[in-house]
Symmetry: C2
Subunit: 211 residues, 2 copies
């Protein structure tokens, strides 16, 4: 197997934390997102949505989208389970993983990709160019603040997004919070439960190795 | 178990098709999205993101987000499998389900929710109000056209989004295409492979029962 990777940016970081939790590693090829290598024809034939990371299997099948690679690896290497240990947790992990991705990750991606720091015409990941919409920067800020207060409330009486159990929902949320910090929007000090969770989870070896 | 449902709108339809494929049914409570009942405090205590559908388990746990309910039910009732029959398919189903949702479903949701036909301040699903951004209507149109041409190309030599296997990726894509038709943007006749797939999949009993 071969992993198409670009360390240091948010989606590849999610996968690399997952791999470290599982104790897995693969030969890697870097696809330089800053040079637009994900849009080149040869990579597009492997990853139709121009997504990095992407995993190429030995039979030539390519799987892209972070959660899809993680799901494939969870099926091959179930231990430790990161998508839930029983049906109830399996449902709750998917729920919180989706909520954190939609309300947090997509919000900070909007803030970043529609602002001045990213390339013109690259407002969305994918093979097609879309112009920036400046209003999405301000909406991104509003959404991030709401994500912070909602997550803080949710974590008020529990240790992880799914109580008692570290899962991919925590990986998605951690990478989201760090993406927000990088984009200049750290969580306010009033979000004590969220900040406590963030400090605790950041001490995990999988996350320290991929900071 | 109890299902909070509002038949006829896209996300509940995805779940209802999934239930019909599995041969499952549950007692239902309607949450009227047109009256804003998903935003009421008692429902919000069950579904923190104000999502419909939501499934209440017998122990009081509530699972919302369509894929989360489906994942819970797939774990409890594995047959027929709709998220893949082996690790490779499990990865590919998640990949195509995500791509169709992000590039198709979210695009038509943007087109609809930022246009004149939906409520002011409800540009995004969730507990918080966000103003409409009119530019997202036109961007939604561009994205839907790209979703159509990309999906048509992908289906050129295969029968389902994951070849040889009907999965939740087809359910998400079918509901997306029908949502686009409802929003006034049917696929162009040039997308022959996509239209053939749509006709064929629309004949499944699960989809005819939930049209």
């Amino acid at each position: 197997m071969k992993l198409y990777d670009f360390p240091g940016v948010p989606n590849p970081r999610r996968l690399n934390i997952f791999l470290a939790e599982k104790g897995l590693d693969f030969p890697r090829t870097h696809v330089d997102l800053l040079k637009g290598e994900q849009l080149a024809e040869d990579f597009r034939s492997k990853s139709p949505n121009c997504d990095v990371p992407a995993l190429e299997l030995d039979d030539g099948t390519c799987i892209s989208q972070t959660n899809a690679i993680c799901r494939y690896l969870e099926a091959l290497h179930p231990e430790p389970p990161l998508y839930g240990r029983n049906p109830r947790e399996i449902g709750l992990v998917e729920m919180w993983n989706n909520i954190c991705f939609t309300n947090g990750f997509q919000a900070v991606a909007d803030l970043f990709r529609n602002g001045p720091d990213w390339f013109e015409g690259r407002a969305l990941i994918g093979p097609h160019n879309y112009n920036k919409i400046p209003e999405l920067v301000e909406r991104g800020r509003l959404r991030i603040n709401n994500f912070y207060s909602d997550a803080d409330k949710h974590l008020n009486n529990q240790d992880y997004f799914v109580d008692g159990y570290f899962s991919v929902a925590d990986i998605t949320a951690l990478v989201t919070v760090d993406f927000c910090i990088w984009a200049g929007m750290p969580a306010p000090t009033s979000c004590k439960s969220l900040l406590n969770w963030h400090s605790r989870v950041s001490e995990r070896p999988s996350i320290r190795e991929n900071s």
